[in-house]
Amino acid sequence: MSDRILLKHGAGGRAMRALIEQTFVQGAPGELPPGSVGLDAMDDGAAVRLGDRWLVVTADSHVVSPLFFPGGDIGRLAVSGTVNDLAMMGATEVVGLTCAVIVEEGFSRDTLERVVQSMRAASREARASIVTGDTKVMGRGEIDGLVISTAGVALTDRVVRDAGLHPGDRIVVTGTIGDHGMAVMSLRHDLGLEGDLASDVAPIGQLVALVLGRHGDAVHAMKDPTRGGVASALHEMAGKSGVGVVLDEASLPVRDEVRAAAELVGIDPLYIANEGKAILGVRADAVDAVVATLREHPLGRRAAAIGTCVVERQGTLVLDTGFGRRLVAELEGEPLPRIC
């Protein structure tokens, strides 16, 4: 076995979680006030108890190749990723974002400015502002172009965990799945696909605020299905919550183009990354109202109830395909186009 870090360790699946657990979580000191959510929870961010509220903190690094892709760019991705992680903890009242960039020597100044403009636009959309930053330049070849690290801080009265699913809860996704990953993958592997493949990258804090504002307590759990897609996010939620999840394939919202591209390269849309979506665990009696509320918002038009939490098969994900039921395995490594 190799003792080096491989790409699979960043792919959002089992290997990544194991690496984080073994390297960062185990043995980490950390005394937080009671009622806080810390590193060991491996949630989307930390929630530190401050008086009768919580201060939610999250950090993210962003590398994407190419830097610009249909539907967005690394700047929009950085802001959205951070705002969304905060929102997934229930914290939609953003205090501020930080932005640290590492730039490769020789990088185009023009491009950098375009990225910064895009970050500003996304921040405005998210009703958040970048309050401080840092810039480093590294020698040519020492990094690849541009790396953006962001952190976010927000306040909330109620923390929503990714571990809060109960048997009987319904699973809701806020829109079509696989859009971001498929758009980027088709460029990265030069698949020569033409058509309407565009990333869904967007800050969804306002969408989440709308739902929590109206249906607050009915939302038991949230997570954004980024790397590793809906399957990985649900595996993690189900495992931490001690429930099984049964998905109904016919109700998964997938755009035709994404479905077709995914079929061409042999990858299941359930494993493909999203950057503007959330998965919600919702009390069964509120599911219709939650979906209706989501659909009122432009970022939630194709929201759908896609599954149900059950007592059996804790920590597993079952897909009802309409033909039969099968288990959805955890992602092994980065999804790659395959031929067989």
């Binding site: 080096r4 395909t321 099968r326 067989c340």
Partner: protein
């Protein structure tokens, strides 16, 4: 929705009718189990993808044969690619090959240590990559005859001089003979791979059914294609008829695709070789003909495997039951390494390598691979 003409082939209601026919046929045959084998990873993929196993009758055992070209790529073949990559030669290959372990490491691990490896979706992309520079580029080619045809077409299409091919292509018909002759195998019929047969034609199986006295059904890959193929196969088993039946006529003819065959055999010749976990398969490998020596990475580079020999193949390999599993005479539960020394992260044998392998699927699904019956 321009491909909507295919939607009816994924209709669950039609599927149920076929699944019921499958049940009736299985009980009429009256043996438990009735064992049939498919020799195609894409069949397994579709069966798993659509959850079809849950619709199979309990007494019907659909065995996954050696139908995954990635799984059966032999250690030395991966080693050659890894050695080339580690010596600084740029490698392009299909995504499937990246994680296949060699003696000392996989291409993914070589990449982590600095080798340049490009994942491509088509051999044409590899040719384009070669055109962008004058550095040598080796296409590590895997896949059965269907995929080899594309490699052959690329070589006939005058690729640049710096482009060469390291062929790990395999040819299916001979391995069916091997499996049919494995001692103790219980296979009563074969479901043949529709896309390979698209190239070779279904006539290629006629001598096989005569020799072995068991039926072969050529089937496609939509859920209804697979179910209908199995229904047809069980009919032939029930009636004791050893013949070839083509249930994929929209793609497969008796003669096959002659133009593709010409392309294939102009560039490749069959050669004997080891299939990982199975056996030595006479004529089971596809190697470049002498006329294409200039584009044959094995002849262009002196590939030095000595550095890997220090690693001597893991002694565990001797304990692997893959061959028996693919022949349907053993199950992963019978392998002492399963889930211990052999996992998807650190696979020992072919069946654990690919997401289509039996051991891999059992491991992923906690030893109870399919949710039969319960609802």
């Amino acid at each position: 929705m321009t491909t909507s003409a295919f939607v009816p082939l994924r209709d669950p209601r039609r599927a149920r009718a076929l699944a019921e026919a499958l049940s009736r046929l299985t009980s009429r045959i009256g043996r438990d189990p009735v064992s049939v084998m498919h020799v195609c990873g894409s069949h397994e993929q579709a069966i798993a993808r659509y959850g079809l196993r849950a619709t199979f009758p309990r007494a019907l055992d659909v065995i996954m044969g050696p139908g995954c070209p990635v799984c059966v790529t032999d250690l030395p073949e991966v080693d050659e690619a890894v050695a080339l990559a580690s010596s600084g030669v740029r490698i392009a290959t299909y995504g499937d090959m990246l994680r296949v372990p060699g003696t000392a490491s996989s291409l993914a691990e070589a990449q982590a240590e600095g080798a340049t490896i490009d994942v491509v979706y088509s051999v044409s992309q590899a040719v384009e990559l070669a055109r962008t520079s004058s550095e040598p580029l080796v296409f590590f080619a895997s896949g059965f005859e269907t995929t080899a045809v594309a490699t052959a077409a690329a070589l006939l299409g005058e690729p640049p001089d710096n482009f060469s091919v390291l062929s790990a292509h395999k040819y299916i018909p001979p391995v069916m003979e091997i499996v049919a002759e494995m001692p103790g195998n219980r296979v009563e019929g074969f479901l043949a791979a529709g896309h390979a047969a698209t190239i070779t034609g279904w006539g290629v199986f006629e001598p096989f059914v005569v020799r072995h006295g068991i039926p072969v059904v050529v089937a496609g890959f939509e859920p209804l294609d697979i179910l209908a193929g199995l229904v047809r196969l069980l009919e032939l088993v029930l009636e004791g008829r050893a013949e070839v039946s083509n249930m994929y006529p929209r793609c497969v003819t008796h003669e096959g695709n002659r133009r593709a065959q010409d392309t294939l055999w102009r560039v490749f010749r069959p050669a004997g070789g080891n299939w990982r976990g199975i056996a030595h398969v006479p004529s089971g490998n596809l190697r470049l003909r002498d006329e294409f020596a200039h584009a044959d990475a094995r002849r262009r580079f002196s590939i030095d495997l000595t550095s890997l020999w220090g690693h001597a193949p893991s002694p565990l390999v001797a304990q692997c039951l893959c061959g028996e599993i693919m022949a349907g005479t053993a199950s992963p539960a019978g392998c002492a390494l399963f889930g211990r020394a052999c996992t998807p992260d650190a696979p020992v044998g072919a069946c654990m390598v690919s997401s289509e392998g039996t051991c891999h699927i059992w491991h992923q699904y906690g030893g109870r691979p399919f949710l039969g019956g319960d609802s």
